[in-house]
Symmetry: C5
Subunit: 354 residues, 5 copies
């Protein structure tokens, strides 16, 4: 997360709207995919030059232009010029550390969210910026790398009966946002599994690695929360946008989306609380263990130190030590030591240390 | 609680309104019960087919249709079609992890709450989703499993003098919500008992299990709070709904209900504070105990280690050790050891360790 | 406090407005006292039957009817019927675990607060529900047990010159509320004394009981806060009530009352902070003490364990141990031990442990 | 601070507006000082009787009447009658534990703040109530004891060119409030110095007194905060008062004052955070120290306990112990003990305890 | 940070608007730089006398007057008189401990922010006050010392094609503010690096210096937060200012700036959380280490103390100790000691201490 603001420094002092890519280069090559459809027909192609997108701009059909990879500033700049996007939109697309937000630029609605996925192999949460520009007949989306969570939507588009095919780009926007939010649940589910596993571990037998894991999870939740928390305001503000680009008819869907994101935020907060509870539990466990260690030490030392003292006394070499010459001296001393031993045991029993 | 969002993942990418049951299958078979009444008469029956509900739809009498068990998507779908419910209502009914909420769909008012009960046998809090759809002449309710908290209401319905019989489905809705909230008090009462018991335990003699119990209770309160907290907004929003489905006359009852839920939330917060106080107390107790253990160890060791040293000295085998040959050497050494012993005791006394 | 919601469970499922007493039976017998006055005359009597109150209902004189003891539901029901109170008012009066609140029922203004007193004998905070119903010419008050904080007001009523005698029941209501809030200060004063005493104790010489006391006080403050916090909103809302029952002229008094309750809340918060500061201090004290104990142990053990080792070496029985036969062997060994001893002392001095 | 609410108890039950002094008697004798001025002339005198103030009441010149000492209720009462102050104003003046506040009584504006000074000798924060009543041509101020922070203002009044002389009592009110707030900065400066000194102490070498000092400072900041926090609202509300007593022209000055108090509040919050950070640091230091102590003990004990055991073995008196009679037995045993010693050192080195 | 309010004390009691420099003298000599430009031409000069600025006041070209160094009150006073600034503006410029804020003085817009830089050499955060006064054709800026973050802007001004040259002083104001906020990101980046390094250190091998570093960073973040937090409100309020000095056209830029500062605040909060997480982790590490130390001590002591006791017993000098004369006595005793040793190891193994 500490990397979220990186490279910003590089462009300090440049005028606003200067296009510089801020973020890691995540994709090898920029890939532009165009899907153009209406209720009757659908056409998909991968174009190699940005100007190939131009024909779709003014047609009545819905056009979804998806750009994978942002390191080639030229491509974004071209798209911007072709579709007449505001320079600040382009800047925000390229600085891949935006806070989720919505901006209403009259002819365009600009939405930034984060696409969050769980990498099962490394057990890490992957997060990339996903920017959407809604125009009258088109939706342009920008992702940092190839591979996304929208495969089911692409399949549904193939079905002429699907609601997607019968509606405009604003409905497509909703469906993409819905997919993103749905994946937040998927990530939370994985996180929930890990929390449960860790809780087991803490309660049963906490290792030192456990602590590191809890803290890593805690940091990941801080970062996850930063990505989802603003989405609530985003959707709520989107519902109130006065723009012809968004059909009133979808209000109910956005209400539903709002409910989902509220639930995501709620769950995130609960997880944060549970993680912090785990830390308390861990600390208590450590204290309990230390206490147990101390008790063992104390019992052993408290029993044997006095006994050793007694033995030491009768190991002295004074000329005159009458006890040494008593007939039952040795036996008596064993008796005394036994008595001390039993008294100690009794004492610990009463103290409930045994 | 970590399970609250489960299986959501399964339906990621499906279009909104696609009906898939999300949650555990809790009931063996779906059971549909219809109670149809007005001031004059009452009729109860268990129907086996959803279409048997249709005759009750438009009659002037009040009809309460209750569905137990949600795993059979078909049934919910049929009910939805018969009563013309919005697809998103049906989706929310089937995804049994909703946040309590209210939705105004013009011809229907949709309310989701959680029915929370305390299982005396396992000492666990049971929670299931309870969805209510209020129409002009009917109220349709959906629960996840057979068995609920409404038996007293069903009995009151049998009494022709009861206010229930004289009022519409909106009053029935109020009474069901009131029953749900009343049961929150019952659960809190049980939780209160357990908190008191734990407090006793912590103050008197905390075992290691105590800590686990406090933490489990803490997690349960996090989850309980998530279920009741949104109900406050729900009721407050319900009071402001502009809908002909709700009679103005019941405003005062909903005010009362609002008071109750505020009290539930208040008590929940207090319990959370008390639980967190208990954790502090537990930690302090552990520290105190460790301190006591340390003192015992220190007293014993500090007294006997010097004495053992003295004994060790006169156990040495040097040729020339004049003390060994003194007449009162042995007695003197006992005297010295006694003096050390008493000095130590005096020191500990002054330090208030004894 | 955990008892606040008790017995609610008993009446779960009953229709709203059903009258059941929820709370402990605190008084032996219900006592009804009537004080009827105007500027000219005053009349006090204790009535045995509720219907004896009826003559005072419509007279132009101010009537204060006070009921001590709520276990006899019949009495409350009768009063309710005589004065035409809303069933929900009666229900709230009987459920003695209300959150402080105000309700405007057109012809009646219903105010619930808690009467809080400090029992000097047991050192405990006593709290009971005090309900007030303001009508046009009368004020009816309900308390859980005999004995209250209004004796000075009753005395003032005897003085024909007092402002009480010249004003209506709304002024009486204000004076009763003012008395209740004044007693919150009295309780806070006692709590303040105890906090100071505990602070002394913690700083000087914390015993194990100290911790229990701090935690008990903490719980009492949680409960006290629940009783006073809502009163702020109550008074603020009372100032905005649009009702002919309250004279505009008393606005300034209610402003004053509002100031008082804000101060009560402020002080409560400060006390909570101070109590939580005391817990930190206590924990630090325990740690400091443990540290001191450890140092003593370490100093003694670290000095004598090596010395005992040396003595042990020369207690060995090897045939060939030349040192044993040196002339100054014994003296030398004492010298070495003395040197070790002094080196250790020097080391501890430098470490500032001595 | 716990004393803030004292003696309130004494007047419980009295009617509002009854004048009783609540607070410590801080001054020997009440002193009344009158400064009467306009642009042309200035007149100062100390009056002995309250009625001597009357002549100044209606004159067009600005009159500042300052009363030092509140224990003589009679004086305040007289002033109240002479200037026609509302009884509740007088009550608040005498109860010297008010929360800072402003009250608009049509013909008077009543402002209560606290005058806070730092006593360099005792190192304690002194706080007294300062009440101001603004009338059309006069400002009456009440302090608990002789001596205040307004000397510079009195000097400025001597200068006919000063803005004070050219403006009305509302400007004087502003200047007094400004002086009070300026002194909050002075106190914060002293507190800041002490925080820095304590931070040094905690980081370098915390003594037990350190902890007490941190906690005392913490309590003082709680109390300081209670005195300044409400002033923010006070000034903000003062800016919105609709009263002819305050000239619109001073709006910009009050804005400035608002900025100052916001900064005071900000700094107070930062100090609170820093103090709480210091407590954490202190606790960590204690833990670190305990750890260091433990290490020393463990190193010494772990090295010498096994060695002592070895020496003990060869101090046994068995008839048959072949090693005792070996030629190099004694030397060998020294070799073994040396090896153990070195192995232990090596082990601690690897564990980084040395 | 504790120094933020220093020297304020010196001017306590002076009338508002009295000009006294409050802060450290940071620059040797006051330097006044004037840049006067329009789309056609640009002129830069360093003036030695304030009155040389006057000619630029009313020209239609944009004039940026920058003053480095504030200790010479005379200069600021002169500028104030020449440009007719309100005395309170001048006072705030000289008191270099202002909270970031905006003030609308009709003919001038006054903005105070803090310029924050990271000193790579000392690893410390440097902070100075930066004041801006926007007039109709000019922008006057005041810094505490020579050297700032605006070099790139000065370079852009050299380019006739740059947007700066084509716009008014309000756009220049925006660009300066943008540069300041951009530098907050730079500082956060450095802080982020240090947090990561510290996190590594804490997880791997915390030294005592680590704790000091974490706490220093924590204090620096408290202070950083105080500098940036109010900027959010400042910009938000700036967007709502009704002033002809700010062109409506730049609204979109200020929206962008607002987004940036929200991100700065967000990141600051996250860092604070991460730092506090690090403290928890540090404390847990210390506890873990102490636990490890205790275990080593306990294992060694618990094994050897009983063995030493056994050896001590057979070192006693009683006349009658049959075991000493047994043939296999010595061997047997070794056997017993071996058995105790192994039993102990087994016990620790089971306890998972080994």
């Amino acid at each position: 997360m500490a990397r979220n603001h990186r490279r910003k420094a590089k462009q300090v002092g440049l005028p606003p709207g200067t296009l510089v890519h801020v973020g890691e280069k995540k994709a090898e090559q920029v890939r532009i995919t165009v899907i153009d459809y209406d209720a009757a027909a659908i056409q998909r192609k991968t174009v190699s030059q940005t100007k190939q997108c131009l024909p779709f701009k003014e047609t009545a059909t819905v056009t979804w232009i998806n750009i994978d990879g942002l390191h080639d500033v030229k491509v974004v700049e071209d798209i911007g010029r072709l579709f007449d996007l505001h320079p600040l939109i382009l800047e925000d697309i390229l600085h891949t550390n935006q806070r989720p937000k919505i901006e209403n630029h009259e002819r365009h609605l600009f939405v930034v969210m984060r696409m969050i996925r769980f990498d099962d192999e490394t057990g890490r949460i992957l997060s990339e910026q996903f920017s959407m520009v809604l125009g009258e007949h088109y939706l342009i989306t920008f992702q940092e790398c190839v591979g996304d969570v929208f495969e089911p939507i692409r399949q549904r588009l193939g079905d002429p009966q699907s609601r997607l095919r019968k509606n405009g780009p604003d409905y497509l926007l909703y469906r993409l946002m819905d997919s993103l939010v749905d994946h937040y649940f998927v990530v939370l589910e994985k996180v929930g599994d890990r929390i449960e596993a860790l809780q087991e571990e803490v309660a049963r037998d906490p290792a030192e690695g456990t602590l590191q894991n809890i803290h890593r999870m805690r940091r990941e939740m801080i970062s996850f929360r930063r990505a989802v928390w603003p989405v609530r305001d985003l959707i709520s503000s989107l519902q109130r946008q006065e723009t012809p680009l968004l059909s009133e008819a979808y209000q109910v869907f956005f209400n539903d989306l709002y409910d989902h994101i509220v639930r995501v935020v709620d769950t995130t907060e609960s997880y944060r609380e549970m993680i912090s509870g785990m830390l308390d539990l861990y600390m208590s466990s450590i204290s309990n263990k230390m206490n147990a260690v101390m008790k063992v030490l104390t019992i052993i030392a408290t029993i044997f130190i006095p006994l050793t003292f007694i033995a030491g006394v009768y190991g002295m070499n004074f000329d005159t030590m009458p006890e040494l010459h008593w007939r039952w001296g040795y036996a008596t001393i064993w008796g005394i030591m036994g008595a001390v031993f039993i008294a100690m045991l009794f004492y610990f029993k009463r103290k409930k240390w045994l």
